[in-house]
Symmetry: C2
Subunit: 338 residues, 2 copies
Amino acid sequence: MMLGHRTWFFENKPRIIATGTICGPFEGNGKIPNDFDTIHADLWLGQDSYEKAQKVMFEEACAKAIEKAGLTKEKIEFLLAGDLINQITPTSFASRTLSTPYIGLFGACSTSMEGLALASLIVDSDYGKNVLAGTASHNTATEKQFRYPTEYGGQKPPTAQWTVTAAGAAVVSKQGDGPVVTSATLGRVIDMGMTDPFNMGGAMAPAAVDTISAHLKDRNIDASYYDYIFTGDLGSIGREIALDLFKKHSIPMDKEKFQDCGLLIYKDDQPVLAGGSGCGCSAGVTYGHLLNRMKQGEIKRMLVVATGALLSPLSFQQNETIPCIAHAVAIEAGGATG
Amino acid sequence: MMLGHRTWFFENKPRIIATGTICGPFEGNGKIPNDFDTIHADLWLGQDSYEKAQKVMFEEACAKAIEKAGLTKEKIEFLLAGDLINQITPTSFASRTLSTPYIGLFGACSTSMEGLALASLIVDSDYGKNVLAGTASHNTATEKQFRYPTEYGGQKPPTAQWTVTAAGAAVVSKQGDGPVVTSATLGRVIDMGMTDPFNMGGAMAPAAVDTISAHLKDRNIDASYYDYIFTGDLGSIGREIALDLFKKHSIPMDKEKFQDCGLLIYKDDQPVLAGGSGCGCSAGVTYGHLLNRMKQGEIKRMLVVATGALLSPLSFQQNETIPCIAHAVAIEAGGATG
């Protein structure tokens, strides 16, 4: 219950008591396969459409998180979730399965931290005891909708990113053990006039820098407070631009400590151009890999800054520029409930 | 700061201190033209696409609400909003104009009350002082996306509804005068297996009944507590089905006091089949017409239950049924801040 400009300070220690992470075969061959609860060998997950495969993947992530929390779905009061597919149908159909009160979100690839910020707010202010937040993306469902049918075999420039097939969900609660969500900074729409949908990282970098700057200012800290700042999916191009922008605005930022979820998930020899992207990228990497590193004591404090490009194929066709946003959530290692 | 199962009880009296409502020419010829702040004579609003027209309409609703609240946009801490267009681009572009921290929502036509519930929670728990919630829909932008190009002149069955061209926004604050948001009940996804996208009201009725039942149970009241219960946009068919369901479940419901926003906006001789629908329907009617009736003393307590059909053209083509949801917000007349 404290507001610092754009930042919510959570004083009652909402915790991430359990998470579920699921991924596809390509991600299973990546750099961090052991950080996923389930790796699917088949991109279809036994469904007859990629959208349904995404739905099943998200259902599995939710079920896994609830199971690991030692809860049943009836104990989950609210689900905050969304995805990139038109009218977020995979998430809504998964919510039908879960049968939990449901707050649908749209933040493109920023959805993971948008949901975690709101879930933490609900728990912190006693409006919910166990709240679930999560999101998913599926490579071919997204490609089909936003770009070309994959059968077309269209080439992409090196600035393009690869949509991650993954889902991640987290149970936020005041009771139980787990890392504490200490604060969250909500993003504004930042649009620097970029129009190239094959360079999302470049478009999103200014939004990430805007939110990180606001977060540091609101908390009255500098970036060294965190062991790491992880952006959602700027990829290699967007990350470089963000580092340039920090320099330009005289915001000290240790290059080694400024990492990107889209650069953590795949091996160097996987052909993902500038890196991973998609709603499931920051959700899967944060709720699996990063929280595991926190559990192992390697990370004590981190800021996860999920970035989203809020365009649509139609807005691109109508010659609009790409509006971008970034939501930041601070996660800090914490002991048992006091 | 109180949770009753699915219902948030707001103890610190978050108030709707000002609203803005904008509509198109067809709505301006409807039953409640005087309840809109601005009526546009041109469906294009001077833009070169209907999506951009919707964006401008929503910007105007936000600007009007902020102006009437005696604030500037810099004083608005968060915007909670969404719409029905793919990737909610009209809302995101409007948010770019506003430059306020932005929480993007997707709840189809339930977005109005999803946003108002969350805005009230943020204000009630001191995470925001002045929070803006709103949504918009545009008839031809929606028709084009969900059904057929209007030029095709396709016929519709009498169960179909007419997407309202309107926008509504509300400033929620603890400081100032205005009706109090006393509680909110979040909806679950309810899907009774209906597949006809030309009968949304019928599909959504069970979701409305589910949420209203939960709300009455959580508050331990019966429907007579409210002067009126207004559903978002069930239309005439959905309203009849909801009344049947109340009877079936032995929930007393006075037919005269159970009204629908989709049946309040147009004149009887306007060719809207089963009534109005769209995100802007419940937003425009609630923030204009209903709050005006509250101001005039005719309504003291009302429950607004915005209903949403969470389908997409693709999910329909993939033979999925229509998942529906309803979010309810209780608004009660209140004096000046104590």
